[in-house]
Amino acid sequence: MSKPDDEVRRRQRSRALVMALALAAFVLLLYFITIARISGQS
């Protein structure tokens, strides 16, 4: 019973990590998009 539980935890951890990295990358990207669009307008 404990073995599948470990597997579930391991999957959840790796998915959470990938999601966190993707979100961080998205925040950074939005920041740079904003800078690019503002500087393009002036």
Partner: protein, 303 residues
């Protein structure tokens, strides 16, 4: 080990790598390249960050369409050797998850495209996703042996989207690039389906070699190659590209036509004797990369 993971399927959440596999990352390279070429051939230059974002959105949109395609075709993929190990038919992910992922990624890519570049490009991206999923996957793929022709139209969108992201409109050159990929896809894919025919037959997909036999397929390959070469050459006499592009397109297209004639001359039905088909398939990939590369080179060196 395998049987343990197989029985625990419903409880164990899908691995993140299976989400990546759902987006068909290998198909994406060609999509990214042609999208980038369409953008770089445009007269307007995007800010590098916005250009990167536009290409990212094209790639994510293609990935979303691929995920929705796999959601719809899980039953069919289970019947073919080549696709049996995809996340859904292999039971590593449930269908609902794939659907949510595909729909979510579609909205994300279209909205980000609109915010970063313009809403016209976002609209074309949305149309391309809907076309691939609804017109090709749901409607025509299982109904007509011309399915590949329709699928080619879906794959032909990237340079148009790349161009639209840069300029906010669509003119003759991106439409010619669309036509080129559209006419390139049938010879490219039919050459492949000639030597992997047995697989499609097992899944009951009406692939042209399955329905009409290898002779008709070879005729169709040769037939599509001629207008394809014309579409590749057209930008030069129309003044949309320079002689560097014109000569490169002419030489590459001549080789393509020559290889397709060798396919036409081949009578073999055994995949082991289908060297000309394999050669044409391999060259067709190089061809598309080289023609689009030449267009960008021509534009940046001379234009």
């Amino acid at each position: 080990m395998n049987s343990v993971t197989a029985t625990a399927d419903i409880a164990v959440p899908a691995d993140w790598r299976d989400f990546v596999a759902l987006t068909k990352p290998r198909v994406m390279t060609l999509v990214v390249f042609t999208g980038l070429a369409g953008m770089l051939a445009a007269p307007v230059q995007l800010h590098p960050v916005l250009a990167f974002t536009a290409i990212l959105c094209i790639a994510l949109g293609a990935g979303a369409a691929a995920a929705l395609n796999m959601w719809y075709e899980a039953d069919l993929d289970a019947l073919m050797k080549r696709t049996r190990n995809r996340p859904l038919p292999a039971g590593r992910m449930d269908r609902q998850t794939a659907l949510h992922f595909g729909v979510g990624l579609s909205f994300f890519s279209v909205l980000l495209m609109g915010v970063a570049t313009n809403w016209f490009a976002a609209g074309v991206l949305a149309v391309s996703i809907l076309f691939y999923v609804l017109v090709y996957t749901v409607w025509l793929k299982r109904r007509t042996p011309q399915n590949i022709v329709i699928g080619g139209a879906a794959g032909a969108f990237p340079p148009v989207i790349g161009w639209a992201a840069a300029t906010g409109d669509v003119t003759l050159l991106p439409l010619l690039l669309f036509t080129l990929i559209f006419l390139w896809t049938p010879p490219h894919f039919w050459a492949l389906s000639l030597f992997v025919r047995s697989d499609y037959a097992a899944a009951g997909v009406p692939m042209l070699p399955v329905v009409s036999g290898p002779t008709v397929t070879r005729q169709q390959i040769a037939l599509y190659t001629l207008p394809m070469a014309a579409a590749a050459l057209a930008p030069w006499p129309l003044g949309l590209a320079g002689p560097l592009y014109g000569i490169a397109a002419a030489v590459l297209s001549a080789v393509f036509v020559l290889l397709s004639l060798q396919v036409l001359a081949n009578r073999a039905t055994d995949p082991a004797e289908m060297k000309p088909e394999k050669r044409l398939f391999a060259f067709s990939i190089l061809y598309l990369f080289a023609v689009f590369g030449a267009l960008v080179f021509d534009h940046w060196l001379i234009g």
